[in-house]
Amino acid sequence: MTDTQTTPAAGAAPAAGENATVTMRVWRGDDVGGEFTDYVMPAVEGEVVLDVIHRIQASDAPDLACRWNCKAGKCGSCSAEINGLPRLMCMTRMDTLPPGEPVTVAPMKTFPIIRDLVTDVSFNYEVAKTVPAFEPGPEPEGGYRMMQVDVERGQEFRKCIECFMCQDICHVIRDHEDNKPNYAGPRFFIRFAELEMHPLDVNDRRELAHDRGLGMCNITKCCTEVCPEHIKITDNGIIPMKERVVDARYDPVAWLGRKITGRKKKTAEEASAG
């Protein structure tokens, strides 16, 4: 049914017709090292990259490792770099890729390799542990009231499916491993923004955002471009947060106001303390 080639194929045949094939150039290896291996598979109409990966598993390479769950763009498990760009394998149709050329599928570069297309994304889960919990103010008689327009700001960020492709593409940590301990990354900047804009939350996330490297982001918008949920990470999350951080730290009027009225919101330190 299929051929596994050790040398790179010259390219796939056109994506239509009886005996058409596709060449999948898949990275195989582990934390020690690896290489791209070509799999020439029959072309099947209407498939996404993940379908072809599954067919390779069922035939040539039963141990080819990849993550996936929902297969409908809703869980964010199957992130990979397809032809060099972070994409969800389940949402990338084969017929949108250049016909006749091999399709390269590589693991996300920013995270350590576990095996093949599976990376160790625990960096993100460790950062998540450092985010102080949502904390609402006292509940009024008859329950909280919020207006739709006010919840929609946070809802945009809560569309995040945690595919971590924004973290993968962000050059602050993609190209500078040493920044990781001090940089939460775009996924968590919108988490801070979501909490900061939540109508009920009483914690102050601005110092936290500053401490976790918000200032290192220089707004290249790469994260926004790869977001499969089309969240405007930079424009609606990071930039407003940068403005709020500046207000909090450097605006003398705001500083004076805080001195006179006392803080309404808790500092990051107080919030972390519980």
Binding site: E45, G46, N69, G73, G76, R145, V151, Q155, L200
Partner: protein, 622 residues
């Protein structure tokens, strides 16, 4: 490592050996979807040593797929709504096969659980006066579903996940549990599994175990379920000697995508038909008019003109047959395909493009529009969709105590899809998310109480642990054997063809013979490569769960000689009042384990008290 080791203080490592790691807790929850997360919060709040063990990364569980909302009689949109109405709707939807007490608890407690999510940070859509708004759904008398657009499941799982993380709960990600083990007194005390990234074996000991493992849909060819839904919990409960009920009650949603391959089985919301979409066969005919059962005839339109007029005038016209109950529509689609009038890829056509303007379709059905556009390259404003029935939800499962979710084996609890009883023979849309949070909390309390009351240190027979490990590694040692992917594919073909939406006695008997054969092959699969993140091996370890649950479904279906809710027998097309009084209960009475037979027999449903029964007598006809 994507499965960080728990902090040393919380998990005293007991007896590290060369073969497996050991962790000890008070409460272990297997599965981190909505119900597992909710149970963990409860146990953690009690101060118990609590851990979640899940097969995927945290936050990827199937709950994330839920769209419509969670049903709770909050009365924010219709003040007439209350728990009694919700209870009545749920029981009727379940064709009265439900555990009445679970349905009652669910209806009574769901509103509190929704408000609790809000206090934990969930951002629900609002009414004009700022309260949580609610939407209409099939089978619910009033608009009842709290929701966040069409991604309510994501909101639920993220809210609970963030709460669990903020509490410092230990989470073992990408860890699959293979078997539950008892202590000398028969209390469930251990769980053996492996970490997927490394293939290292793990033994968890605990005073109480909660199964929150979800569904069984991956045994069918066309399903809306992910790879995780292999019936791990159902099977492990059976192997541990627990009772399961209603295993024949599997919900097939009539409209899943069938083409292209990439999206086969993904759900197409009922809202397409609610907003004017109609089903057509290959001849362009609206075939649903030919499939109106007697019991729906009085309330269903007879002509296309009448059906079309109903959309704007519900008072003077009768509703379109395209919106008959799910089992009716699924059966009709099945018949059309069998008669050779299906679409090119084995479904039928769902057409809204010829009936509504592109602007209307995009405004009313934004996610459907994008789903077809991005995944299928189909513009639903310009042409029809191809749809067919897809395996969607498991009503049957572990028989539990309604108050505590305790299984019939001590030390074991079950919630969500792996538990049975709550939804009877058919689940209403919106009742699954509320089920998760209501009974997740209850199981957390039940398991915590049990753990606190249990004396002694949980211990298991070391030989039993070794035996599970040996069995798990056996496929690596075979010089030759079956390819697990081939066995899985054949299982899916078998279940799809013989234990699908329409069943017959002879086909079910054929299926059981075939399943025995596949059981034998499953014991002879061969796996190549190493243990670290090896999907072929992972599938080999999923197969026993799939085979056991498939056998239980087929046995239940063979014994329930009637049609009720999600279970349809062509040879027994109507409901049988006597069968409506019993659950089919299955358990392993002699030998336990994958290779042992499962006994089945009817047992009477719990008796509903007169004051609740009266609700059905007073209720107006639907």
């Amino acid at each position: 490592m994507s499965t960080p080791a728990p902090t040393p203080t919380a998990t005293p490592t007991a007896t590290p050996t060369a073969d497996f790691e050991t962790f000890d807790y008070d409460v272990i929850i297997i599965g981190a979807g909505g119900s597992g997360l909710r149970a963990a919060i409860e146990a953690k709040e009690r101060g118990l040593r609590t851990a979640l063990v899940c097969k995927s990364l945290l936050g990827k569980a199937h709950t994330v797929m839920a769209e419509g909302g969670m049903a709770a009689a909050m009365g924010n949109v219709w003040k007439e709504d209350n728990w009694q109405v919700h209870f009545r709707d749920t029981m009727r939807g379940g064709k009265m096969l439900n555990n009445w007490r679970m349905a009652q608890i669910h209806a009574q407690e769901a509103p509190d659980r929704v408000y609790e999510l809000e206090r934990w940070g969930a951002l629900f859509d609002r009414t004009p006066d700022g309260r949580i708004t609610q939407r209409d759904f099939g089978g619910h008398r009033y608009a009842r579903l709290a929701h966040v657009g069409d991604r309510t499941g994501l909101e639920l799982i993220r809210t609970l996940q963030q709460k669990v993380v903020s509490m410092g709960t230990d989470v073992f990600m990408e860890t699959k549990i293979l078997r539950l083990l008892p202590d000398a007194e028969g209390r469930i005390s251990g769980a053996v599994g492996y970490r997927r990234p490394t293939g290292e074996m793990v033994l968890f000991t605990a005073k109480a175990f909660v199964l929150a493992t979800g569904s069984i849909g991956k045994s069918w060819k066309y399903t809306s379920n992910s790879w995780e839904s292999v019936g791990d919990g159902h099977a492990m409960a059976i192997w541990a000697g627990a009772d399961v009920i209603d295993m024949e009650c599997v919900q097939f949603h009539p409209t899943g995508m069938v083409w292209p391959l990439s999206v086969r089985g993904i759900l197409v919301t009922e809202g397409v038909r609610g907003d004017g979409g109609v089903l057509r066969n290959s001849e362009g005919k609206r075939f649903m008019f030919d499939y109106v059962a007697d019991m729906f005839r009085a309330e269903t339109a007879e002509t296309e003109e009448e059906a079309d007029a109903w959309y704007d005038d519900h008072i003077n016209y009768r509703r379109t047959p395209d919106l008959l109950p799910r089992d009716e529509v699924a059966r009709a689609i099945n018949s059309e395909v069998k008669a050779g009038r299906g679409s090119p890829h084995g479904g039928v056509f769902l057409d809204i493009a010829s009936r509504r303007t592109p602007e209307y379709i995009r405004r009313r059905l934004p996610s459907m529009y994008h789903q077809f556009m991005e995944l299928a390259g189909v513009d639903i404003t310009a042409g029809p969709m191809e749809v067919g029935p897809t395996c969607h939800y498991m009503m049957g499962g572990v028989r539990v105590d309604a108050e505590t979710q305790a299984a019939t084996v001590p030390g074991l609890f079950a919630i969500g899809e792996v538990s049975g009883g709550m939804h009877g023979a058919n689940r209403l849309g919106g009742n699954s998310l509320s089920d998760l949070i209501v009974f997740g909390r209850r199981a957390g309390i039940g398991a915590s109480d049990f753990a606190e009351g249990r004396t002694g240190t949980p211990s298991v027979d070391p030989a039993a642990v070794t035996s599970v490990i040996d069995e798990a590694f056996a496929p690596f040692g075979r010089e030759e054997g079956y390819n697990p992917y081939d066995v899985h594919e054949e299982l899916q073909e078998t279940m799809q063809a013989l234990v699908g939406i329409i069943r017959t006695g002879p086909e079910l008997e054929e299926a059981l013979v075939k399943l025995e054969e596949l059981k034998d092959r499953t014991s002879k699969v061969q796996v190549k490569g190493g243990r670290a993140y090896n999907p072929g091996w992972n599938l080999a370890t999923d197969l026993p769960s799939m085979i056991t649950t498939s056998i239980a479904v087929a046995q239940g279906a063979l014994n329930r000689k009637e049609s009720r809710g999600g279970h349809t027998r062509e040879d027994f097309p109507g409901p049988d009042p006597e069968m409506g009084k019993v659950n089919f209960v299955q358990r392993q009475t002699g030998e336990h384990g994958y290779l042992a037979p499962i006994a089945i027999g009817p047992e009477p449903l719990p008796e509903m008290p007169p004051e609740l029964r009266a609700l059905f007598e007073e209720a107006p006809k639907p």
